[in-house]
């Protein structure tokens, strides 16, 4: 992974001094609430329902065991003993004291971490595939490019106070695992006919109140122009994006209003001024960053021997077999596998992890996966470089840590925002909904029979739980002070992206598990052999689902 040098460390040191001063001036009454707000937000500090929430940046989701131990330490000493993995691959702490945040930043900086631009109207953490560098369907490792974007966007002086938040994601594989079409900028890495790296640049995707799929405005951008082209997009957005209404301030609204082709022309015009300036990437600069992401420690293993061994363990341990099928993915290197530690056991808020688990996960990373970890946008944690010969031992340790629920990609692997239990913006709770559904559908064999289903839950229109792109989406709404839930169907986050359609009038919290059951029954009754939930939905449309839920309920 990327290693800080003296420049990165110096910047963090100066940042902590700056933020300590800002906090002090706020506590002394020199800075008003209104003035401190964007300052603390740019540092990932929200004031929530019960306490502040601090979001720590994990650039493109990749971090080390040493960083995980530090996060565990912070959870223990400054929080209530747990942390939360967010859908943008970051960590969140729910109970820090505002006064303690400068000290927390000091601790984080010791392991090269921070909370810079994890919130506020600025460029946020650049995200990508949780399997980057090891996926079998990858064109090229996107992380060096993400790192170059991280550096460019960190404390960018021109884009510190944009009309609204700004999120960039990279996709570099056949299957999209970064939801790049739902980002302000989605960068798709491709190789041209000569095998050279190029980027397709999509803009104006997003969820929230107005879900929109990103539009391609620049196909085949030469890699050396990545930074100047991004800068041109941001410069146009910074000047033309709406600032009069925060619900219409995202770039997606601007692109839609101008029409993508006109927006593209405006960016092109701006870009002609800055194209080929010194921000143009050089081979040396890119190679220097690429070196950080080359995994050289692979041993040469006999893949078929490994597989034979695993096949025999399967017979002895049925549960191991299920875990192997569901939570382990193929790796580009023979004899290796990608393992996902499941943070969605029933009864635990999706994405939550305790300090004890965090320390243990750090140990697992050291023991089995080169000391590195990744957070996923589905709120799980990945060990990316596990030898197949270690899988059985790793599984046993995961079982003991309650990290082995074999449900990756199934109904109970729910994406869920913190919701009304924590978040000051939420209209309704989301965690109890996830739990009620997990309890109702706890029979794994039934879930496996249903096949992969993305169930996404958001507590409000801000859509942090990505409900628009869930095959089944649930949105918390407020109706005259009472919490209700709207259900949508047919969303999809990948390359064949679609936005879910609202089923109809909303339901009470109590009704939701039964409604989900009716939807699943409808699917089971209508599906063709081997047809997934979303494919059945796309074939038959929303009507039969609607009928089953409302007519029979009425």
């Amino acid at each position: 992974m990327y290693k800080y040098d003296q420049y990165d460390h110096q910047l963090l040191k100066e940042r902590i001094a700056q933020y300590r001063g800002q906090t002090q001036r706020y506590l002394d009454g020199e800075l008003s609430e209104e003035e401190f707000l964007p300052l603390r937000l740019q540092n990932g500090l929200y004031i929530q329902r019960l306490a502040p929430m601090l979001r720590v940046a994990v650039p493109y989701g990749l971090y080390s065991s040493a960083q995980m131990r530090k996060l565990a330490h912070i959870a223990r000493h400054y929080d209530k003993g747990y942390a939360h993995v967010s859908t943008r691959q970051n960590f969140q702490f729910n109970w820090p004291r505002l006064e303690d945040v400068p000290d927390i930043l000091q601790e984080l900086s010791e392991v090269g971490m921070h909370a810079i631009q994890t919130s506020g109207n600025c460029i946020r953490n650049t995200t990508t595939d949780e399997y980057a560098g090891v996926a079998v369907d990858e064109i090229e490792d996107p992380r060096p490019w993400c790192e170059l974007v991280r550096q460019w966007s960190t404390f960018h002086p021109e884009f510190a106070l944009l009309p609204r938040k700004f999120k960039i994601a990279f996709c570099a594989s056949d299957q999209d695992r970064a939801a790049f079409l739902f980002h302000d900028i989605g960068v798709e890495l491709i190789h041209n006919d000569e095998g050279h790296t190029r980027f397709n640049i999509f803009v104006g995707g997003g969820l929230g109140r107005t879900p929109i799929i990103g539009q391609l405005i620049k196909p085949g951008l030469h890699w050396q122009h990545l930074i100047t082209y991004l800068e041109a997009i941001l410069r146009v957005y910074n000047q033309l994006g709406r600032r009069d209404n925060k619900y219409k301030a995202r770039i997606k609204i601007l692109v839609k209003a101008m029409k993508p082709e006109n927006f593209a022309a405006r960016v092109e015009q701006e870009w002609q001024h800055i194209k080929d300036n010194e921000s143009t990437l050089t081979e040396d600069a890119v190679d220097a960053v690429k070196k950080f992401f080359i995994e050289s420690q692979y041993q040469s293993l006999d893949d078929s021997a490994c597989n034979r061994e695993l096949a025999s363990y399967r017979i002895e341990e049925k549960h191991f077999g299920a875990w192997l099928d569901k939570n382990v993915r193929p790796h580009k290197q023979a004899g290796y596998a990608i393992v996902t530690l499941a943070l969605k056991p029933t009864g635990i808020a999706p994405g939550d992890v305790t300090d004890v688990q965090m320390d243990s996960i750090a140990d697992l990373a050291d023991k089995y996966s080169g000391g590195l970890l990744r957070n996923t946008h589905k709120q799980n944690i990945v060990l990316a470089d596990v030898k197949k010969t270690d899988l059985l031992a790793l599984w046993k340790e995961c079982v003991a840590l309650n990290l082995a629920t074999p449900n990756l990609g199934y109904l109970s692997d729910t994406i869920c925002c913190p919701g009304g239990d924590y978040c000051a913006l939420a209209n309704a709770k989301s965690i109890p909904i996830a739990e009620a559904i997990q309890r109702r559908f706890s029979d794994l064999d039934y879930l496996y029979d249903l096949g992969p289903i993305d169930l996404n839950i958001s507590g409000c229109m801000n859509a942090c739980g990505h409900h628009h792109v869930g095959h089944i989406g649930i949105l918390g709404v407020d109706k005259k002070g009472r919490e209700f839930y709207q259900v949508s169907l047919g969303g999809e986050m990948g390359r064949d992206a679609s936005i879910g359609k609202i089923l109809g009038p909303s339901f009470s919290q109590k009704e939701i598990p039964e409604i989900i059951e009716k939807l699943l029954d409808t699917y089971v009754a209508l599906r063709h052999p081997e047809e997934s939930f979303v494919d059945t939905y796309r074939r038959v449309g929303i009507a039969p689902f609607k009928e089953n839920v409302y007519v029979k309920a009425g």
Partner: protein, 165 residues
């Protein structure tokens, strides 16, 4: 505009800002008056005003600098207003003036100018800062030096760190 910061220090300011709704008679400006005109008024006699050493122009946050493109060689002072510090359009206007139109005169940040944005203003090409009246200007000057390292290129450092590492 009593608290003007320039070259890292507090200086006296001879310029007087003319509001958009002022009824000033533009035909009778004395040579001894140093006036900062709103863009609309300035544009009414752009060819004439742009040649005067005592007439500057200020842009509001919704006024992009394009109309000034042809005059940037001779204008002595351009100011950009930040009605609230969180309206960041002026940063892009500043870079456009400096880097596209090659404006080399004084570029002033006016309005809700606070310590915590000083570093950003400076990097985007502002050379003077009218600190908000109720704020301490020495603290604002410190804000200019919050950071000694930057990753990306901007007006103050056209070479990004990746070419200097």
């Amino acid at each position: 505009m009593s608290k003007l910061v320039k070259d890292q220090q507090l200086v006296n300011d001879q310029w007087q800002l003319v509001e958009k709704d002022s009824t000033i008679d533009l035909d009778s400006i004395a040579d001894s008056d140093f006036l900062l005109l709103p863009l609309g008024k300035w544009l009414s006699s752009a060819d004439d005003f742009s040649q005067k050493k005592n007439i500057g122009v200020w842009l509001d946050s919704d006024e992009a600098p394009e109309p000034l493109a042809g005059f940037c060689k001779s204008i002595p002072l351009i100011a950009i207003n930040f009605p609230v510090f969180s309206d960041g359009r002026g940063y892009s206007y500043a870079r456009t003036l400096r880097e596209h139109y090659h404006y080399e005169g004084e570029l002033r940040a006016i309005g809700d100018i606070l310590r915590d944005q000083m570093h950003f203003y400076q990097r985007c090409g502002f050379s003077s800062f009218a600190i908000r009246d109720d704020r301490d200007s020495s603290s604002a000057i410190e804000g200019l030096n919050d950071f000694s390292v930057s990753y990306q290129a901007a007006y103050d450092t056209p070479t990004p760190l990746f070419r200097r590492r």
